[in-house]
Symmetry: none
Subunit: 225 residues, 4 copies
DNA sequence: AATGAATGAGAGTTCATTCAT
DNA sequence: GATGAATGAACTCTCATTCAT
């Protein structure tokens, strides 16, 4: 399964990339391995040199995508001055990621049908770091006193997921400003312990200035992997 | 496709019910029409008397489930004293619905892969009413000044969806109280124009009491069924 | 099978007419009984009140068409002054028949695949009368001394058949004049005992005048049924 | 669809040959692909490695048969001293071909029902060469002054077709001599510009000798194979 | 490492026919 | 006489996977 030569690794990667395109455009069940090898430009038998089965290949793909996305989200929040800013930067990174390859979203969603276990793994992976970071923000009084930070984590993921679906998948182009503004307002209100000051409350700005006020720097990290 | 006799209608219904069970337990692609007709106790050909294809049957099923769920949610919020209470009652009804037939959730989720069009239709249907109600609440100053009520609607749906997935699908039993409490707190804070009265609004209510206040049970009955 | 009431006969006829349309447009195998009953506007079960099977219905149809065509051809040649004129009139009638319902041609041709027996019956029926009439014309010295009139009959049928196919089926509109002229010239030369006089030999006229010269009146009749 | 190895080509040929046998014995619609692969001794799926569909296979077969027949007919007429002799040699070759594999005739005829387009293509292919050769013979005054050589081509094809059907398909053994003699007489009279020499041209040669004269055997060999 | 050939189980779908009403 | 429901056998076609080269 694991290639031993460089050539082998290259072929494997060609197959994964092809699979991303194929599973993104059609779907897991309608796409055939024939489609993948054709797209990758390799022979039919070659596929089984690198993947045990169609399902195995799909799983690898989902894991790889999850890995990439988590890395980008993490890196996006790295220099944010507060937890809420980490949150918002994360959403921005998430939206950007989807916009760059909308197929990724589709593929992950298919996992829910194709193999619930990887799907669950995917979100649990996200949720863990999320949950801890939120708990920390609550303890630190940056966030309101939520008792079940995991639930909050899932709420945040769900909310981002649906916005992505609605404004990136069902519609071309980036998330509209007004939408992002409402998202920011929504999150600040819901999460921050302190009531917002006037400007932010009127939802007329983007995200950055108003919140710099919330003194405590985010503990950062811990939100992914 | 449409039956003309009573006997025909009965058979059709038998098939739909069987399809719900079958598509819920296995999934669309792994389930065969043979499974459905066996479950329904009719002949193989009979299926095609009432559905143009496997996909057609699936679509009908999703529409039917959407219809039922919307009806229950609507009815749950019917006698709530304020919009925020309608919201919460709706979530309760949604959770109750899923708990009663978790298959429904699975089926709808499959639609995202099986037939994106019905899936979208399903949520757009929900979103419409939602969006208008939110816009009205904003106008009436019950809700904070969101400029893009549709975005808020999708956020709410997403957040409910993920909670359902996490606490009803991945786990037996009803949504834990603490989770619902956090949901309620989250929504009140995010949506209501006025800061919450009582401890919840203050950063010092961090230990427990604040939540007890927010977990106000939805006023009238009808929200669980 | 045979209806007993008038209403029954009407329904049967509706079915036959529908079958002609359906088998003409699609073909025997691709057309379903469902198509026929739908076209006829009767119930599915009704079909079997009048026909033992799909094949039975098809056979009836072919026989009926053969009957109609033979009648028209016979009648067309009734008043011709000589055998060769009967021949030409017959071809004209044949072409006219096909032009009026080109489906008939298609249906008969299908019989060759669907049920070789009816197909053969159809042509043998035609050939019998033909053969005898040709033999008589040979005896009477109107025609050249062919020793195997049946072979001549099949040659004539084949030649007409292919002209019909080429100029009526593959092309809209009636048989072009030049084609018919060549057909006439061809037949006169091939069949008539006497060499043609100048005019006809230059193939510049239609059919009538030149041949009136061949004195002996056709015995007529005997060419069909 | 196109094989790439030798083994592949061999398998494909096995399938085509099997298809000829199967479609010849049963017919296109009644024969199943199962019959073909069984006859060819390969797996069910193998069929689709070389043919897009049942219809595709049938089409290939018809084209192949047309190709073979045209080659034989052409070669048969290659050394004939005059156009009329080419004609007769062609008919002989045609009859010989059918006698050797009567299935071929049946298969082509089915095409009229199965796929009118290939059927038409089949005859148009034949007709083209035919038409030009006839036009040339007319120009050179070997043939009578037909103005529409294509029509003549179709008449010749039709006439041969029906003789083949009557005397080779409906009856065992080769075309009877008397039939071929009449065909030869018929064609010479119809086509040649000059009246036949000898008794045939005169109305009094009615008994037998005339035909002996017309049934001149086609000069060189190669006309039977 | 790479490949194209081969496979057979199984899928969805159609349809002539029967039957109870 | 007429009908719509019901049926199950049969069909074409797909595809993940194996294997010899």
């Amino acid at each position: 399964m694991e290639p031993v030569t460089d050539r082998g690794w290259a072929t494997r990667q060609r197959l994964l990339t092809a699979a991303e395109r194929v599973f993104g455009e059609q779907d897991y069940f309608r796409a055939s391995i024939g489609d993948i090898v054709r797209e990758a430009g390799v022979g039919q038998g070659t596929f089984y040199l690198y993947f045990k089965s169609k399902l195995d290949c799909f799983r690898e793909l989902v894991r790889w995508l999850g890995h990439e996305l988590r890395a980008e989200v993490k890196q996006a929040g790295a220099r944010a001055p507060s937890r809420i800013e980490v949150e918002l930067a994360g959403f921005r990174a998430f939206f950007a990621f989807i916009e760059r390859h909308r197929q990724a979203y589709r593929i992950v969603k298919q996992a829910e049908t194709v193999d619930p276990a990887v799907y669950r793994e995917y979100y649990e992976r996200f949720a863990e770091g999320y949950r801890d970071a939120i708990a920390a923000a609550v303890d630190r009084r940056e966030y309101a006193p939520y008792r079940h930070p995991e639930a909050v984590a899932y709420m945040l993921m769900g909310l981002g997921d649906f916005l992505g679906m609605r404004y990136l998948l069902w519609q071309e182009g980036p998330v509209p400003d007004a939408v992002f503004a409402d998202l920011a307002l929504f999150l600040r209100r819901a999460l921050l312990a302190e009531p917002l000051d006037g400007a932010a409350a009127r939802a007329d700005g983007h995200s950055t200035p108003a919140v710099a006020a919330s003194a405590v720097p985010a503990t950062a990290g811990g939100d992914t992997e």
